[in-house]
Amino acid sequence: MTMHAITTFAAQIVLATEEGGHAAEGGHGIEPGITSGVIVEWAWLIVVVPLVTAFLITLFGRKSPFKGWLLAEAAMAFVAIYGTVLFLVNAAQGVTYYGHVQVAEIGSYAIEWGWAVDGLSIMMYFLVGVVGLLVFTYAKGYMDADIRYTWFFASFSLFAGGMLVLVASPNFIQLIVGWELVGVASFLLIGHYWEDFANVDAANKAFMVNKVADAALFMGAIIMAVSVGSFDFNDVIGVVVNGEHGMLSQYAFWAGLLIFIGAMGKSAQFPLHVWLPDAMAGPTPVSALMHAATMVTAGVYLLGRLFPFYLDVEGIFAADVRNIIIVIGGLTLFLMGFLAIVQNDIKKVLAYSTVSQLGYMVAAMGAGAYTAGLFHLFTHAFFKALLFLGAGSVIHAVHSNDMSDMGGLRRFMPRTYWTFILGTLALIGIFPFAGFFSKDEILASMRHAGMEGQSVATFILVLGVAGAFITAFYMTRAVALTFFGTYKGHGHPHESPAIMTLPLIGLAFFAVTAGWVNIPGVYTGFTEWLAYRIPLVGLGDHHAESFDWSLIVVITPLALLGIAIGWYLYGKDRDTQLERDRFRIPVLWPLFEHLYYINDFYSAVFVRPLLGPIARAILWVDMNVIDGVVNAIGGGSLAVATGVRAADENLVDGVYNATGAATGGSGSVLRRSFTGRIQQYAAFSFVGVIVIAVVFIIL
């Protein structure tokens, strides 16, 4: 890497932006922003520091202060500070910078490692840094006395590094590297308590389901790269923005669909959502940071990264995929919300809630609402991490995940209670908390998309509005069962230590305020921050100019109704779970309780039919091929050994003996010629000389 290459590249970016200036019409009219400078050129440190820290903790963690926690916390603090600085610079002036280093070259394809520093990735740096820092701080208290304490922080740092590799990536190759790194970290951390076999199953399930989606992502990325001739996102977007009818437009549907399937796996979209609720087997900080705030949003991030490709104003690329995206997102947000109602495990309530909220984000992307989807990603990261950490605090106090063992905790744990309430209000979308603004923007965007001619968006809008009601209902239920009524668990619950409650307060601050960065008609900075992207100028997405009052007058009363019904049903204290759940809806309830039979379906259709034959096939291979090979090797070795022995005894020994006998025999013959008579020797010498002389003369 040379600085020269970077500055040249930056210059090209500026040039490209200026040339593409005419495309700005109709867009936001965003100027290119900062394209060089120390702060962006050194942004690769954000990625490298946590990765290096992960290895340092693995190697030296046990001997370092606080057994590795301090190293991890320092790395996250670095990311948080650097991310915040970039965030502020971006907010003030806008930043668009793409650094890269060529690692290898395969044919005409350059394999590069790079770091994108633009509105989208800066938002993710900020999220991973700030939420990560708070979660790491919390984890010190939560994981205290854990048997694999150091290893936990090593894996967690590996996750942070992998996630930053992913969001820093300006090309598919690096994205996939980061994608798999977070997958591995997820596998390690879900299976953190591997003594319990169920947790190992959950880890395997998460890994396998993600692998299915990853395979689609690889195929999509390869199709895309071959059609465009480059793995670089900017090249892909460049083709889209220029509207070239090249190879990409032919294969765009399949490339777009396959990449979306990859995003579905990571962002837990129906029907690939099955791994996320099981992933709650991991420690709660992991659920908060990975399975709520950052990792599961990677799919939404990827859709955002390729947004112009999916938006496809002229309809020659992946516009058809967008209808699939919005339907999948809509189904996910609606169906998974119901499942949160019937869960008794507080973490599973939040897990299904996360899946449902991810559905909102994906549906927003499908509706062509770049800002709305990423805005919800931004706010959701804070309040969902807050809710998970609050749940973790409760679990830490009562030593159980089951809400039947909780109740009345608001008196014992006031800080956890109040922060949890703030998070809940943000999630439900009550004014003026964060979720209100982001969810409203998503629904407004759907309405707009419906009016613009994407007819399916109107249908999904109905699901989205209903989802807001469901969200209010299940969150009220969770709060009521956890914090109200009488305590049903064992022992005396106590408030968590300050190291756990302070991060809760920090996140609660963001849960309240994060929405204020994008208030339609008042302040829309967030829209501009995200729009600092190259080489497109103007994403052409819809974002609300003012509040959609007709939606608000529907959603807010619906949410309040959800709270009221939830409170009516669960607010009153009931001793047993049976008594509590007597409001079963006849047909739907069993469906919800069995999670729509999706897991059973997968077991019956994929897992068991595959497992049996696979097991038999493996047994056959083991018995015949492997044993055969082993036996053949054994027999062969025996035969060879016998042959070697024979050769040793006959050939080698024979040669030695023959040599010895020949030497001895010839010696006993030749010794007779050695008479010891000097004059005889001299005579022989003379005869020899004569013979040699004669030979020379004759010849």
Partner: protein, 101 residues
């Protein structure tokens, strides 16, 4: 004087020396016979040197070396024979068959 006369003298002297070396029963006389052979060689060297008109006179210089060598050889040879005689009271090479195979 032609070269043939020198070669005849040298050959005769060498043959007498060889006869002496192979037949004498006294080691001292064998040593003396070796001297005769060396003298024959010297005569040949000097004769051919002159005959071939070697400007460097390699043959004559070589014969000087041989004379010096012969003197040294006689010195060492006589000393060895004396020691053998002193130990074994004999200088007959037939009695010295320690190296017999």
């Amino acid at each position: 004087m032609t070269i043939i006369q020198f070669v005849l003298v040298g050959s005769a002297l060498f043959s007498i020396g060889l006869y002496g070396v192979l037949t004498r029963r006294n080691a001292v006389l064998i040593l003396a016979s070796v001297e005769l052979m060396l003298a024959a060689v010297n005569i040949n060297l000097v004769a051919f040197d002159v005959y071939l008109k070697d400007p460097a006179h390699a043959g004559q210089i070589f014969s000087l070396f041989i004379i010096a060598l012969a003197a040294a050889e006689v010195g060492i040879g006589i000393a060895i024979i004396l020691m053998i005689f002193r130990n074994r009271q004999s200088a007959d090479p037939d009695d010295l068959r320690l190296m017999r195979g």
